[in-house]
Symmetry: C2
Subunit: 580 residues, 2 copies
Amino acid sequence: MDKILRINMSGTKGPTIKTEPLGDYTGLGGRAMTSTIVAKEVSPTCHALSAENKLVISPGILSGTAAAMSGRISVGCKSPLTGGIKESNSGGQPSQMLARLGYAAIILEGKPGNDHLYKVVINKDGATIAPADELKMLGNYDVVEKMKAAHGEKIACISIGPAGEMKMGAASIAFTDMELRPTRHAGRGGVGAVMGAKGVKVIVVDDAGTQMRQGKNPEKFKEANKAFVAGLRQHPVTGKGMAAYGTNVLTNVINEAGGYPTRNFKTGQFEGAAKIGGEALAKLENERGGEGSATNGCHRGCVVRCSGTFYDKNGQYVTKQPEYETVWAHGGHCGIDDLDAIAQMDRLEDDFGLDTIEMGVTLGVAMDAGLAKFGDAKAAIKLIKEVGQGTPLGRILGSGAAVTGKVFGVERVPVVKGQAMPAYDPRAVKGIGVTYATSTMGADHTAGYAVTANVLGVGGTVNALKPEGQVELSRNLQVATAAVDATGMCIFVTFATLDIPEAFQALLDLMESCTGQPMTAEKFIDFGKRILKLEREFNIAAGFTKSHDRLPEYFKKESLTPHKVVFDVKDQELDQVFNF
Amino acid sequence: MDKILRINMSGTKGPTIKTEPLGDYTGLGGRAMTSTIVAKEVSPTCHALSAENKLVISPGILSGTAAAMSGRISVGCKSPLTGGIKESNSGGQPSQMLARLGYAAIILEGKPGNDHLYKVVINKDGATIAPADELKMLGNYDVVEKMKAAHGEKIACISIGPAGEMKMGAASIAFTDMELRPTRHAGRGGVGAVMGAKGVKVIVVDDAGTQMRQGKNPEKFKEANKAFVAGLRQHPVTGKGMAAYGTNVLTNVINEAGGYPTRNFKTGQFEGAAKIGGEALAKLENERGGEGSATNGCHRGCVVRCSGTFYDKNGQYVTKQPEYETVWAHGGHCGIDDLDAIAQMDRLEDDFGLDTIEMGVTLGVAMDAGLAKFGDAKAAIKLIKEVGQGTPLGRILGSGAAVTGKVFGVERVPVVKGQAMPAYDPRAVKGIGVTYATSTMGADHTAGYAVTANVLGVGGTVNALKPEGQVELSRNLQVATAAVDATGMCIFVTFATLDIPEAFQALLDLMESCTGQPMTAEKFIDFGKRILKLEREFNIAAGFTKSHDRLPEYFKKESLTPHKVVFDVKDQELDQVFNF
């Protein structure tokens, strides 16, 4: 990974491509790369859909090596949804492949002066860009089929669906998985709209003729990876729970804990949880005679394999095994307890190129606006189809929960910095509430997953229902996560690195032996802090203040059943999250 | 004016009304009253449609007296459109009548726990509130007809149309004029949505049995009023231009100056300007055999009488003589040069209860989004009807230009703090650009009308095309305007008070002899500064920073014909507007 691919869409004679040395960006990857480039090259006050914004795609520092779980790829830009900096990362195959091709980042900049939609092809011979107007308004599944037909089955694709072309605030960027399906998404913050504004429909990556990246110290690297994998296998979450049921194992856990946001965050438990939880999902998948639950990874080198495939009653492929947050957003949040309906919505959103969290939350807000009844899966599916069609109503919903709330005059809108809250009620899981409020990303569970110590007993224990200790918990996790998001490691490695000292040391050793630069726990934490500081400075320059580091007021006033709790972490405490 | 009417909509047994002494609010009126109450009683971070927000309606300090032009009324709240503090003022009869009934302010607070829509009736015997569900979704014209039928022809009405009930960001509050028509609006900032969220459809005001307010020093007051009126008559703008053609006399003036924003701010001159300017409008009105142009005031005591009535070809009433900004927003901004179409749109928006500036600008943005062609009046009328009907598309447009731009992925959206820019291009009238950028209200020409010295040669001369001197000009005007907005005086008095020292002294004398409190030029300016500071502090607490005191970036980059100018007042200079 010694070069950057910079594509300027503004050229009067069409886009121009150049390959640059890393320069100031040497040693970076993933979130460290995207946030550094955005902070350095993008004006914080620019319009997110303007030529001034840039879309940066960057494999993690360890991507393309033999390190287990190192296939995450980061997408960065100024977010059209939050108005702040955005890093949204995804699994799938492109990270490993781009890294093996030597690209530490792709930067899309400028804006085409014409109506063409472009296709980028990257392989061992370099990169090309050409109009591909025949792809206009195709869904991600169709795009991938066309790319397979044109470029063979060994490629990976990075693409947008109609939502991205329509520049919707909920538009995602799809990354193909090991089965070459567009099921992995950089979902959050409207990154797909920025790719749409750049006029790029798909980036085809073909790593034929390349080799796995070798670390600077291959022997040590191999040892470290072995220890790392042992840690992952040893930890109960990654070794057992997820490996059996996937992320959706959380449905019953969070529901039991009373932190499962139900019907647009009105209660903390859903009577239909058991019908849509990981256990029920696994049973269904096994009954339908597919591979069964939690049998797949999303990229080569995954050892947790938390994913699977969802088939319909007739054995037809529908979508990948839906994640916990996807199941929740379309399930409990909308009062829906039908896994087939949920899987269908997941499929539609993957195809249209939509963030399943933002869309599911938006549907719940739409239900509060009277557009459908809670529990009405048919109506919910119809609404999602409107988004794909780009009807006026679909445009509203595709703009996300905050805009939908505004347009329909709804007061109860669970967003922070314009981004929808994920699947954990901040009143009953207060550590995640601190993360929602203060993250540079807007409400985002992955930015500092305090569910660990709050609910799962991972990384210690902090009582989820009390305000004490939540700020420290969230701060530490936000810092560590920023660093992990730079490595290319899947966030699920943190269960092991939090609980098993050897696993954490192995991660540091992987970094050190890969890059040849010394890496200690202290350096790793400093690295995370530097990333967060960059992001926070961007946001401040974009106009964010501490008043944006707050949950909507109703979380402080409306008591949540069953625990009868409000969000009571004090504002002054929230303002201490970034006191480093 | 010795009391406040406070109506709490939250009561479990229905709304409660109390009359309170002025207390801390003694001596205040108009914008000074609304901004002080909002700053003191409303949490800057609350949701604008929540029970925590309050809607404050306050006649000016001189309202209800014999002072000429003293019939403005202020509406204040946290704005659903900007997210900051809002004061939007209106002409019409209610100000004088409320003042004569002794009410210095009406405060609507809380939120009904039911679906009722309420009617408030205020007369010499006090105030009552009762459900009036039969008014649901009626237009303002129908509401007023029903109120006339129930309460006689001597009332005045303050009401919302369907837009306010639907809590749209562009929803206005209508105030009836001397002909008891709902043609005067507190238009800006979505104040109608807040009234809608409070569940109040109409406030009927009946001042039968009351008397004109007497000043503390009636003799001096009478003298001052005489001098004041003389000044207004002597000044060319209020004595001649407006008196002949109304505010629409500006169309040709601003177009000549190259600052007439055309087709969503793409050029500074409109080829159809002469067809829709004040002169053409007057000719049409005179031809159609009505009263002719500029024959009416909006309230008793007006001596400028800048208004008139617009009749259709068949002599049927359509609307009041449309104001310059209304003509521009639906005219040049949309490429439409048909006065009949413009008048029809004005009528529809008055009836639905919509801000004509926000809506016209939104139509231009919608045209850039491809929803209609520039110049297509029929399509524009159809779009406005969608707003009144509350279709999904109508909901989008009714949410204003910023939301419409977001929903349709349009980059060119002329808003500041979420509020649409009025009828003066900030590149060619740079003083107004400074006001747009920095006003506590969002883009608002009335907040500091630098068109005076920039174009009209009133209050000195500052070259409209150069950045020099604009910040000082805008600052002085913003300060003076804040004070004038507290007096109840129509903003048009400032032409005379800026140019004629005797007229300014007469205004100070009116204040002093009315209130019995000493009033000097210095005190008046201090009064304005205090109001602005309150407002700015509220906005800062609501999350505004200097990055919000900026125009959209394209105004700094795209050159405007015919003068080939960009907005080049430096950011650091903009940050000096509030350096007092």
